[in-house]
């Protein structure tokens, strides 16, 4: 058994930031499924929001305006106290990143450059070309090396260790050897990322399977607002690789088959820089109504930006378009369509990362604070990782310092280890008739077809039935890879069970929510309904499936109003 006072699970930005906060105070280690620099944070492109007011065009910007844009973008489902904290902490967090060495792009005066992003009143998105996530992730890992934080990489966390209402650590499998080990801790912080891969059309990395969300869910921690799934407007045709919102921030046009900049019909003022839910619905409407191109896409046209600007500001997406679609955006428009991108929902927690379970915290995409409500603004997810990574790391360290060590009492830990080892061995030798790969593909297709951008009661009911049927079939699966070392079949099959449960929570929440708000767009209930639905959904795991509950939204000073852009 391994012991650390704080165990951070996840080596992306939120996890590393949490670890950097806790490590100087208490013994802290990071467990990560992949080496930290392989984390999905590195795929973030366009930038990170903070009201630095660094340019002439944003000299009047401030955290309060950032908060209002975020809350309006969230369709008023975000908790306003949490948003205010995030936008207030933002500038200092960005400066800290710069002091750590993040190579931000610069203004002619040498300050951090900022670009316009969707739903924002000013150019507020600090960027480093179009590889902002990559550079911040590498810089953050450099700080982890500098501070000597212990990192256990290629450990797949399989379970939380719960002892009554207290979290005592995690059980994890070392992928290179297959060894299963208990990690006892006084506090555990989950920063495990999103669950995009429950959809077939996700921009997310292969590792974004929602592990932390379903592990917490299975351990009795509720999930919040899972029905709110963000579809990014510009995913590359076929592969769904992300093409940054920064491409539109720099002036790119969205164009249909008739050559129209169709956003003028949907958001005449903001045009291409309306929030993502609106732009995605607009693109999907164009495609559904026959104004898309024949392979089901519209065009993102950057040609008018010119060669120099594309090479300087958008070199990464140029390489992606060339490598994965055979298109050089200097010469041709990029074929795109909306693709699943982000899970606004996640582990129910407050802005300290605290959950219902003592000593268990969550931060980043796996968490739902909630600062994104029903629709996240571009550039706010990177900000969320650093702000709430920091706050949860601080709170966990404070919690540990204020309590007696429980290292001597390992009974619950040993029980959990024995249980997980038995479950894993049972799965490894599973010999039923169902192929986990087929189940996974059916789940992903069901989510994309029935729980997509536009939703109806009938399709959601069909989706729920389909997911529940898959959950039943899962009990009869068969594994093909039985070896100890780096057993992808075992890992993916284990993940599949949790992904099915997450899918169920998403569909159940969506079916129950009879209104349209942010990313959740019910064609049978096209209006937002603040009287009945200005509330967060909670999903509790039970043997019979997801049980729903609700809790109020925190409103401080911004009363819900109509969203117009």
């Amino acid at each position: 058994m391994i012991y650390h006072q704080v165990i951070v699970v996840g080596g992306g930005l939120a996890g590393l930031r949490a670890a950097l906060e806790a490590a100087p105070q208490v013994d802290t280690a990071v467990l990560s499924l992949v080496h930290p620099v392989r984390s999905h944070s590195g795929a973030a492109q366009g930038g990170i929001n903070a009201a630095l007011a660094n340019m002439e065009a944003c000299k009047d910007d401030n955290p309060e305006k950032h908060a209002f844009d975020t809350i309006k973008g969230s369709d008023f489902l975000a908790d306003q106290d949490a948003v205010e904290i995030m936008t207030r902490e933002g500038p200092a967090c960005i400066i800290e990143l710069e002091h750590w060495g993040v190579p931000f792009s610069r203004t002619p005066q040498g300050k951090i450059a900022q670009r316009p992003f969707g739903g924002a009143g000013y150019p507020r998105t600090c960027y480093a070309a179009d590889k902002t996530g990559l550079y911040i992730l590498h810089t953050m890992y450099e700080q982890v090396v500098k501070c000597g934080v212990r990192v256990y990489d290629e450990w797949a966390v399989l379970s939380l260790i719960r002892d009554g209402d207290t979290c005592r650590g995690v059980v994890a499998m070392h992928l290179p050897t297959g060894q299963i080990e208990a990690f006892q801790a006084e506090a555990v912080i989950f920063a495990t990322g999103g669950a995009g891969r429950i959809y077939s059309n996700s921009t997310n990395s292969h590792i974004c399977t929602g592990d932390g969300m379903f592990i917490a869910y299975h351990a009795g921690v509720p999930l919040k607002d899972m029905e709110f799934i963000q579809f990014h407007p510009t995913a590359l045709l076929r592969t769904n690789i992300l093409i940054t919102e920064g491409a539109r921030g720099e002036g790119g046009y969205l164009v249909n088959r008739l050559g129209e900049r169709f956003m003028e019909k949907y958001a005449p003022k903001a045009m291409e820089l309306a929030p993502r839910d609106i732009v995605s619905r607009s693109i999907q409407t164009e495609i559904n109504e026959g104004r898309g191109f024949e392979d089901g896409c519209v065009h993102l046209d950057l040609r008018h930006l010119g060669r120099e600007k594309i090479l300087e500001r958008l070199p990464g997406i140029r390489a992606i378009a060339m490598d994965f679609a055979g298109v050089d955006p200097i010469e041709k428009p990029i074929p795109i369509h909306p693709g699943q991108h982000y899970t606004m929902g996640g582990i129910d927690c407050n802005y300290h990362g605290e959950t219902v379970l003592n000593g268990f915290y969550a931060a980043g995409e796996c968490a739902c604070v909630s600062v994104h409500g029903a629709n996240r603004l571009g550039g706010n997810s990177l900000l969320e990782t650093v702000v709430f990574g920091k706050l949860s790391g601080a709170r966990a360290a404070e919690f540990v310092r204020g309590k007696a060590s429980s290292q001597g009492d390992a009974k619950a830990v040993e029980r959990a280890l024995a249980r997980v080892v038995a479950e894993t061995e049972k799965l490894r030798s599973a010999d039923g008739n169902e192929d986990p790969v087929s189940l996974r593909l059916e789940m992903q297709k069901t989510m994309a077809d029935k729980v997509g951008i536009f939703r109806t009661k009938q399709e959601l009911a069909e989706g729920l039935a389909a997911i529940q049927a898959l959950q039943k079939r899962y009990r009869e699966i068969r594994l093909n890879g039985r070896q100890k070392r780096f057993n992808l079949d075992l890992l993916r099959s284990w993940e599949l069970k949790g992904m099915l449960d997450l899918s169920e929570a998403v569909v159940a929440g969506a079916l129950a929510r009879e209104e349209s708000r942010g990313s959740h767009s019910r064609t049978d209930f096209p209006k937002r309904d603040d009287v009945n639905w200005l509330k967060h959904t909670l999903a509790f795991h039970t043997p019979a499936g997801a049980r729903l509950g609700y809790k109020p939204v925190t409103i401080t000073r911004f009363q819900p109003e109509e969203r117009k852009y």
Binding site: W100, R106, P108, P176, G481
Partner: protein
């Protein structure tokens, strides 16, 4: 131009030290389309033909650096290698050369990370930080533009003949990282950075063979960075500053 579906033969290196068998190549017939990547073919094999195959992957968009492997005679990222572009009826895939194999295409990267850590891979400042950001001109920013794009995939490290026989050699990836900070106008580590690389395990072990530059999937030139470091070291030595 669409290429009709065709079958390609994949010869994939297989080795599991737990099994007590010698390494071997297994052969798989994979149907591909015009845009199918090597990574997609590996997933096809894993999901439909052989659930015991092991390989690393994550972002599938050439930014995470997980899926570096030896494909038809070159170190490449499986995710950005289109099979049609290999122009071959057969695709032969092995783990990155000269690294210990954990299983199949998964290699032990511990030595790679150990070298990375040896170059003090983080910004060093000695005077108090300003309240706001360090100012950096656009021109100063351009000096690090290339070096910061490294994704630490180890294609260069594994193709460097000097790294093969001198296990102590920092190698192209760590030296590129060292250069990234030497060239950064904000870094104040000064001569100390050059001292870390001005030795027989550092820049002077590079014999400018350019394997690293040739194999870099991001189009970077660690060779250039190493020569820049050599120039700076030489100048400091010749002027008795070091």
């Amino acid at each position: 131009m669409m290429v009709a579906k065709q079958n390609i033969t994949f010869e994939v290196y297989r080795y599991d030290p737990d099994m007590g068998r010698e390494p071997r190549y297994d052969s798989y017939q994979v149907p591909i389309e015009e845009t199918t990547t090597v990574l997609e073919a590996l997933y096809y094999i894993l999901e439909r033909m052989d659930g015991s195959l092991s390989f690393r992957s994550s972002c599938r968009s050439a930014v995470c650096g997980s899926c570096a492997m030896f494909i038809n005679g070159m170190n490449r990222l499986a995710c950005r290698t289109q099979i049609v572009a290999l122009n071959s009826r057969e695709v032969r895939i092995a783990p990155l050369p000269h690294l210990p194999v954990i299983k199949d295409l998964v290699v032990d990267m511990a030595g790679f990370w150990e070298k990375y850590e040896r170059v003090r891979p983080y910004l060093v400042t000695t005077v108090a930080s300003p309240d706001k950001e360090w100012l950096q001109s656009e021109e100063e920013r351009r000096a690090i533009e290339e070096a910061i794009d490294c994704i630490l995939c180890a294609c260069c490290h594994s193709s460097c003949t000097m790294s093969w026989w001198d296990k102590g050699y920092l190698g192209p990836a760590a030296l590129l990282k060292a250069y990234r900070f030497v060239a950064d106008s904000r870094d104040q580590a000064g001569l100390e950075r050059l001292r870390l690389v001005a030795n027989e395990d550092g820049v002077f072990r590079c014999h400018t063979i350019f394997n690293c530059t040739e194999d870099c999937p991001k189009g970077l030139s660690p060779t250039f960075a190493i020569q820049e470091l050599k120039k700076r070291v030489l100048w400091k030595k010749l002027t008795f500053q070091m």
